[in-house]
Symmetry: C2
């Protein structure tokens, strides 16, 4: 492949530590087009350099403020920090909305911090596919810590868990029953739990609720998950048991606003990084990340190739019931 | 392909209107394996039969209660209703958690209602890919209305907007600034807006806030979307304008708990269905749904084929920096 000079300039710039080049490389990587392949090829070798910290949890729990605090603390230790903020996107305009600009203004002008807002587009592998490439760029720039934050729940959250080494699940004391129930579904992805806004009433109850749900502090009781599939007539309940884990997820109370409980959070994050390095879990996660990145990369490429083979006429035939989707797909795949 | 008798029994059963068969067909369709192809092949022709109504919005706004009310009202009109509730899933156990079981108990034993909970797994095209097949099953069963509800924000929500004919965005008067800000990103996908829990204070303000954000009632002012990409040094603001729409999204206040404001909601849903039928918009959406379903179906098949070609050794080589991801992918794709 002939090297594109715009791309190779960006690649060289990132290696030199030039911030504008980092910005360009991230944009190229996010596009997922041919140039993105060159970026990925150049920076894939930096895989595993940084600790990738994912921040999950419902909207409004203060993940942005918490991220901003973490960035400041890491900067005090002279660590280089990258942050990818996954924002809900408009599926029509493709635009990205950055809710909390404070977090950016606070760190403006500091070359040890790089913050980028990413739109989670509704395309196949859109989020995860390019997030891996963007992580490689930040690793190549020399980031020691990469924060990945999302406001999304569901697919977005799961995607982040697959890209991160350490997943922090953030919640607050005020969240109602509905969110508590919902949380159970994503609980398994958390390596650390933070009850933020700990200045509010109900902090202790929230902490103990989470500990109970995780089966902590109760002589390793079972984590019971009910699965109810209802088919109009039949309803079954499946009870699953969970293996004891070598890593016991800490449940911490903190207040990003008042700056409380942040040092213990940082210590837990360090402890988890150490745990990953010293056990086979770290390598297992890296392998899973590679597997995921590879699959997404390949399906993105195949998807791109495939789309160019579908004509307007094909789609008309589907809508007009002249053609069956399975048959059309088989024909195109031949 | 040799017909599998279990599959053809399910297909025949759905056509006869047998609920147990619908349940089986949905499970087969959701698996996305070979049997799913037979289901899709049999029922694709029912595409476009029902009005597919997507319900989006943050967790805790009462989408489940609203769905349950809508189902009751449609049942009074003697319409057959299907519902697919997309729940956040555990990426590890693959389990699905159904938060609000009341909605099921209320309609239990009614053969005119079919409710299925779907886990939004973190796989490529997982949600959207199989949701289309499941919709076809419900259409073949004779459903007039299909409600698709999600607690997910971000990818899940966008996926639903791509499968639905009519998107209802649900919110409440109490939502704070953070959620208000977030909402702007997904606002464009809503065809109808409902401020639920209208018994709470702030209903009128919420309605007028949404109307303002949509550019309604202000001589069609611009919908301004700010996009802020920060690259450490540069920060730019992009202002986009929006074309006037033929359909003006109604913003309604309702209370699912007290049963208020539901008839106007039903009328708006009917009006939107009529609008889609009488303008080119309906066909345009159907075509987009086909395009999406086709792409997801194909990439799911390709992904499946691809995964079988990746060995453990390949992944080890990636983690050990012996191989570059782009090169490995190219080799496998050859």
């Amino acid at each position: 492949m002939k090297k594109n000079s715009k791309v190779s300039d960006a690649i060289e710039g990132v290696k030199r530590g030039d911030l504008v080049s980092v910005s360009r490389a991230l944009t190229l990587a996010a596009d997922g087009q041919k140039e993105a392949d060159e970026i990925l090829r150049a920076f894939f070798k930096d895989l595993g350099r940084a600790q990738k910290i994912g921040l999950c949890g419902p909207p409004g729990v203060g993940k942005s403020s918490l991220s901003s605090r973490l960035i400041s603390l890491y900067r005090k230790r002279n660590l280089k920090v990258g942050m990818l903020a996954v924002d809900p996107s408009s599926p029509i305009s493709g635009g990205s909305f950055l809710g909390d600009r404070l977090r950016i203004q606070e760190h403006i002008g500091d070359t040890g911090v790089f913050i980028r807002s990413i739109a989670s587009r509704g395309m196949v592998g859109g989020l995860s596919g390019t997030i891996f490439s963007q992580i490689h760029v930040l690793e190549a720039y020399g980031c020691d810590k990469i924060l990945i934050e999302t406001v999304g729940i569901g697919q977005d959250e799961v995607a982040i868990a697959r890209a991160a080494d350490t997943v922090v699940y953030v919640t607050t004391p005020q969240l109602g029953d509905e969110i508590q129930a919902m949380k159970a579904g994503v609980m398994e992805i958390g390596d650390l739990f933070v009850v933020n806004k700990a200045d509010l009433e109900g902090k202790d109850k929230a902490v103990s609720d989470i500990r109970a749900a995780l089966g902590l502090g109760q002589a390793r009781s079972l984590s019971v998950q009910e699965r109810l599939h209802h088919g109009g007539l039949d309803a079954g309940v499946l009870v699953e048991t969970k293996e004891p884990r070598a890593w016991e997820p800490p449940v911490l109370a903190a207040s990003a606003r008042d700056g409380e409980g942040l040092e213990p959070l940082l210590e837990s994050l360090d402890r988890h990084e150490k745990y990953l390095k010293e056990t086979s879990e770290g390598r297992r996660r890296l392998k899973n990340q590679c597997r995921e990145e590879l699959s997404l990369y390949v399906s993105r490429r195949l998807y791109r190739d495939f789309l160019s083979k579908v004509s307007e006429k094909d789609i008309e035939d589907l809508v007009d019931h002249k053609m069956n989707l399975v048959d059309l797909a088989s024909e195109i795949l031949k």
